[in-house]
C-alpha cells in the first residue's frame, strides 16, 4: 500500500477588487472598508485537491504568505476540508514581488514537506485578483524543480502508483491534453470545477483551528537578500489614473426609447459604416 498523496494548495488573501474605488479628488485608491476574500482561482485549486481527496484519499496542506489577518482565509480553507494550514508571516516578507514571493513560498513548501511529508502536487490559482500576473505558480515550480502545468481546466487522472498526472490545459486556441510526472505544480482556472460550500463539521473544525505560523525565525537558512522588498527586482516607479481622452460625447436623447433608437440608428447610417459593412449597397 502506497502512502496517501500529499497536496499543497497555495492561497492568497486579497482585497475584493470589485469593491475598490478611486478617490476622484487625489486619484488614490480607497482601500478602507474593502473586504478581504480568498483569491477565487486558489479556491478552485483547493476544490480540485478536495476532489482528489474524496476519490482516492489525500492529505491537504494549505499555505499562504501574508499578514496575520490572512489566518481568516486559511480557516475558510480548513472549513472546506483542508487538513493543515500554514501561515508564513513576517514584516521582512512585505513588499515582495513575484520573484521574492516564489522564493518564500518555495522555502515554505520545502518546510511543509519536511514537517508533514513529501509533496506530490502543488495547486495555485492561475493568477491573483490583485497582482494579476500569473507568475508565482511558475516561479514556485522553478524554485522546487517541479514539472509545471499552468492554465489547467480539467484534471483527467492522478495515478499515485505510476506517479503520473494527466490534465487538460485551456489555451487561447484550444485544449491541450498533457501528461507529466509528479511532483507537479498545477495552476487552476475557474473552469476546473465548481467550488463546494463548507459543510457544518468543517465549519466547526475551522472555528477552533489554529494554523501553524512560521516567521523568518523558522527559516534559519533563508537568504535575507531574496525576500521582501529587497528581494524584489521590479519596482513600481509611478502609478496614475490614465488621462481620459476627452471626447465630445453627443448625448442622444428623446421622448421614448423608440425615438432614441431611431436617432442613434440614423446617426450610424450617416457614417460610412453601412457602406463598409454592406448594410446597404
Amino acid at each position: 500500500m502506497s502512502e496517501k498523496l500529499h497536496i499543497v494548495v497555495c492561497i492568497k488573501q486579497v482585497p475584493d477588487s470589485r469593491e475598490i474605488r478611486i478617490d476622484p479628488k487625489n486619484n488614490t485608491l480607497i482601500r478602507q472598508g474593502v473586504p478581504s476574500i480568498v483569491n477565487f482561482y486558489d479556491l478552485h485549486g483547493l476544490e480540485e485537491a478536495l476532489r482528489i481527496k474524496d476519490e482516492q484519499g489525500a492529505r491537504i496542506t494549505v499555505v499562504t504568505m501574508g499578514p496575520p489577518p490572512a489566518e481568516k482565509s486559511l480557516k475558510e480553507c480548513v472549513s472546506l476540508g483542508a487538513d493543515d494550514a500554514v501561515l508564513v508571516t513576517d514584516r521582512g516578507f512585505a513588499g515582495a514581488d513575484t520573484l521574492a514571493t516564489s522564493y518564500v513560498l518555495g522555502k515554505t513548501i520545502e518546510k511543509v514537506a519536511e514537517t508533514f511529508g513529501k509533496v506530490d502536487i502543488v495547486f495555485c490559482g492561475k493568477q491573483t485578483l490583485d497582482g494579476d500576473t500569473g507568475q508565482v505558480g511558475p516561479g514556485i515550480a522553478c524554485r522546487l524543480d517541479l514539472e509545471q502545468l499552468t492554465y489547467v481546466s480539467k484534471v483527467r487522472a492522478v495515478d499515485k502508483d505510476s506517479g503520473k498526472i494527466t490534465v487538460e490545459r485551456h489555451l487561447e486556441d484550444g485544449i491541450e491534453v498533457v501528461q507529466t510526472s509528479m511532483p507537479v505544480l498545477v495552476t487552476a482556472l475557474k473552469e476546473l470545477n465548481k467550488v463546494r460550500r463548507a459543510p457544518l463539521p468543517g465549519m466547526l473544525r475551522a472555528a477552533r483551528f489554529k494554523p501553524v505560523v512560521w516567521t523568518t525565525a523558522d527559516f534559519p537558512e533563508l537568504d535575507r537578500k531574496q525576500i521582501g522588498l529587497k528581494g524584489s527586482p521590479t519596482i513600481v516607479a509611478r502609478t496614475w489614473v490614465p488621462e481620459i481622452r476627452k471626447i465630445n460625447t453627443t448625448r442622444v436623447e428623446g421622448e421614448s426609447e423608440q425615438e432614441i433608437a431611431q436617432k442613434i440608428v440614423e446617426t450610424l447610417w450617416q457614417t460610412d459604416l453601412p457602406e463598409r459593412f454592406g448594410w446597404k449597397s
Partner: protein, 360 residues
C-alpha cells in the same frame, strides 16, 4: 549574522550596476504547428521602436520544429538578427525544453530586454525563465517604452492596483529586463520581403527522456467568435444583471453583423464565457463600431477598447466614466433601448435590402 550587517550597504538604490555587457532587444516568437501568433509580430513592431531608441539590434528567437520559415518571417517583420532553434523535441511547447533554450540564449547573447506575448504559453515560459535567471518580470504590459541611454531602462506599464490605475514598472538591479505584453495592443510593421535576414542556428541539447511532460493531444477550439478581428462589437457589462440579457445583445450584434463582447465583471459573474472578454485579462480590440452597454468604463475595460473607431455607450448612470470614451452616449434603461435599436437596425436593413432589389 553580524556578517550581514557589516556588508556594504546595498548601494544607493538608484545606482545601477554595470550592465554594458547586455545589449539588444529580444522577442521570443510564439508559434503552434508552424503558425506564429500575431502578438509576436506586434512585439517585433514595438521592439523595433525600443531598439532604435537604444541604438541596438532587434533580435528574434524562433523555437519549434520545422519552423525555419518563421525565422524568415521574423526578418520580414523587422528583426535585425534572427535565431532559430529547431528540433523534433521542440514540436510542442513544453516548459522545460523551451525554457532551457531561452536561458542558454540569454546567457550567451545577453539581451537587455526580453519580451514575450502575454499568452498562456508566453506567461508560462517567461515565469519560469525569470525565476531561473533570476530577474524581474512585468506581466501583461500595455505600454512599453525605454529611457534613453545612459539609463536604458525599460518602462513597462500595465493596469494595476485592482486595475483601476496604470503602473510603470522598472527593473533596475537585474538584467535582462523582462515583460510579457498583451496581444492586440502594439502594431506590427508592414511585412517587408526585402528584409532578408540569415537565421543563426541554435543547438538543442536535450533528449526526449529528459523531458517528463508529454503532450498527448491538442484539440483546436475554433472559437465561434473572433473578438480581436471583429469589426463590430456589442459588449455588455455588470448593468446587464445576468446571462439572459446577453441574448438581447446577441440580437443586436446579429442585426449589425457583429459579435458579442463583455466586461470582466460580466465574465466573472459567469454570465458569459471568457472568450468574449474585452480589456485587461481579456482581448484588446479596435473595431470600427463598439457598443458599450451597461459597462461603467473601468480602466481594465477601457484599455482594451478605447481605440475603437466609433463608440456608443448606453448606461443608466449619466456619470459613468464610459461616456468619456464614447462619441455617442445614451443615458437610460438598456433593457428598453437595446431591443428598440435592434428593431430599428432590422427595419433599416430590410428596407435597404428591398431598395437594392428594386435597383438592380
Amino acid at each position: 549574522m553580524s556578517e550581514e550587517t557589516k556588508e556594504p550597504k546595498v548601494a544607493v538604490e538608484d545606482e545601477m550596476p554595470d550592465w554594458s555587457a547586455y545589449r539588444g532587444v529580444l522577442i521570443v516568437v510564439e508559434q503552434r504547428d508552424g503558425a506564429a501568433k500575431k502578438v509576436s509580430w506586434q512585439l517585433l513592431g514595438q521592439g523595433k521602436k525600443l531598439a532604435d531608441k537604444l541604438e541596438v539590434p532587434l533580435m528574434a528567437l524562433v523555437i519549434g520544429h520545422n519552423v525555419a520559415h518563421l525565422a524568415q518571417e521574423a526578418g520580414y517583420y523587422g528583426a535585425d538578427q534572427v535565431y532559430l532553434c529547431d528540433a523534433e523535441e521542440l514540436k510542442d511547447y513544453r516548459t522545460r525544453p523551451y525554457s532551457r533554450v531561452c536561458l542558454k540564449f540569454i546567457h550567451e547573447y545577453k539581451p537587455e530586454i526580453v519580451l514575450f506575448g502575454a499568452t498562456a504559453t508566453g506567461r508560462d515560459l517567461a515565469g519560469a525563465i525569470a525565476t531561473h535567471l533570476p530577474t524581474g518580470l512585468t506581466a501583461d504590459t500595455t505600454e512599453l517604452d525605454v529611457e534613453l541611454p545612459p539609463s536604458r531602462l525599460l518602462l513597462a506599464s500595465r493596469p494595476a492596483f485592482s486595475e483601476k490605475m496604470l503602473a510603470t514598472i522598472l527593473c533596475k538591479q537585474y538584467r535582462p529586463q523582462m515583460a510579457t505584453a498583451r496581444a492586440g495592443v502594439f502594431q506590427e510593421l508592414p511585412r517587408d520581403e526585402s528584409r532578408k535576414v540569415e537565421a543563426v542556428r541554435i543547438e538543442f541539447s536535450m533528449s526526449e527522456d529528459e523531458i517528463a511532460t508529454k503532450v498527448l493531444e491538442f484539440i483546436t477550439e475554433t472559437s465561434s467568435i473572433n473578438l480581436e478581428e471583429a469589426e463590430i462589437i456589442v459588449a455588455g457589462g455588470r448593468g446587464l444583471g445576468g446571462s439572459e440579457a446577453f441574448k438581447m445583445l446577441k440580437d443586436l450584434a446579429d442585426a449589425l453583423g457583429g459579435v458579442v463582447g463583455a466586461s470582466r465583471a460580466a465574465v466573472d459573474a459567469g454570465w458569459i464565457k471568457h472568450e468574449h472578454q474585452v480589456g485587461q485579462t481579456g482581448y484588446t480590440v479596435r473595431p470600427k463600431l463598439y457598443f458599450a452597454i451597461g459597462i461603467s468604463g473601468a480602466v481594465q475595460h477601457t484599455v482594451g477598447m478605447a481605440n475603437s473607431e466609433l463608440i456608443v455607450a448606453i448606461n443608466r448612470d449619466a456619470e459613468a466614466p464610459i461616456f468619456n470614451f464614447a462619441q455617442y452616449g445614451i443615458v437610460g434603461d438598456l433593457f428598453k433601448i437595446v431591443p428598440a435599436i435592434t428593431e430599428q437596425v432590422k427595419q433599416k436593413r430590410s428596407f435597404a435590402g428591398i431598395a437594392v432589389g428594386s435597383n438592380s
